[in-house]
Point group: C2
Chain length 186, copies 2
């Protein structure tokens, strides 16, 4: 797995490989892990509760080999853990680690920015304890708190959520709390 060359502001990584303490451009460092194509969409799906290889595959229409590679680097870098499915010997489960979950603010900020391009997101993000939709900063305007993803649920913005027919897309037509495994519904 060749090192992706995302140069930073002040230091050359070619000569500094490994010395993370002296590193300054943390954006470049972040992009080295999550800046590749598909990666952020895989992480989004993980927040939605997707855990299995084929569910990522079906929902994203991503080439198998690319998904294998992305999941491997996400596991290598500590954003995901891969474990055996206790109920099915032949299955694996991919779960976000705390490091991966910490990406929620960045993910939500990008998603919010996207609404400036394409209008509101078809899935609403609501605070589970009060049902209010969270704002662009990720805050609940009713409770004046910044809920973590586990306190946020998705629901279709209006009734006409249509289009994809894969199992994940269908399951997300019901209200669903982030990070809750979708496996049960599938």
């Amino acid at each position: 797995m060749a090192r992706v060359c995302f140069p930073n502001s002040e230091l050359d990584w070619g000569t500094m490989a490994g010395t993370y303490e002296a590193q300054n451009c943390t954006l470049a460092r972040a992009l080295e892990l999550i800046g590749e194509r598909w990666t952020l969409l895989i992480i989004r799906d993980a927040f939605y509760g997707v855990r299995r290889f084929n569910h990522f595959r079906d929902h994203l229409d991503i080439p198998r080999a690319v998904l294998v590679e992305r999941l491997a680097t996400l596991v290598d870098n500590g954003l995901f853990v891969r474990e055996q499915d206790p109920d099915h010997a032949a299955r694996h489960l991919y779960d976000l680690t705390p490091l991966g979950r910490d990406l929620w603010p960045a993910l939500h900020a990008l998603l919010s920015w996207g609404t400036r391009l394409a209008g509101p997101n078809q899935l609403r993000f609501v605070h589970v304890t009060c049902g209010t939709e969270i704002d662009d900063h990720g805050d609940c305007p009713a409770c004046h708190v910044n809920p973590p993803p586990a306190d946020i649920a998705t629901e279709p913005r209006d009734g006409k959520a249509r289009g994809r027919t894969d199992a994940v897309a269908v399951a997300l037509r019901q209200r669903h709390t982030l990070l809750q495994p979708l496996d049960a519904v599938l």
Copy 2:
């Protein structure tokens, strides 16, 4: 410029090309514009005040052809404007539009997340009116406001900001307000 295929949650873009209103996955839409390699680093440099082709080039060590292409799509998509330099007929200036500036929260969130990987960023982001370093949410903990980028300045975290020797990197060793053109210092 082929359409980058970032599939969304519910709709297939192949069949929905152009109908942005019916679009739901705004993250996929956002990544279509800023998810390609180098793009977010170019935008970061624009926040730092970089405006000229060769300054992006020198600071990022990006291949010329790639930079040409990225700037063109950023202009096409309304994140940057390209204008003549009034003082030098042979120069162009690239500036962030309001749409591009709206990316600041997402950019800062990613940068903050990167500190969990590599330790603190070498550049600090401080609230210009009080000098306090802004927190992970982009808020000023002293003033309890969420300053826009124009109210945020960068300064080296400690004296030993070293490494790159290009003009932009050197200029950024002085305190500098975001979005203020660096041209004067260069």
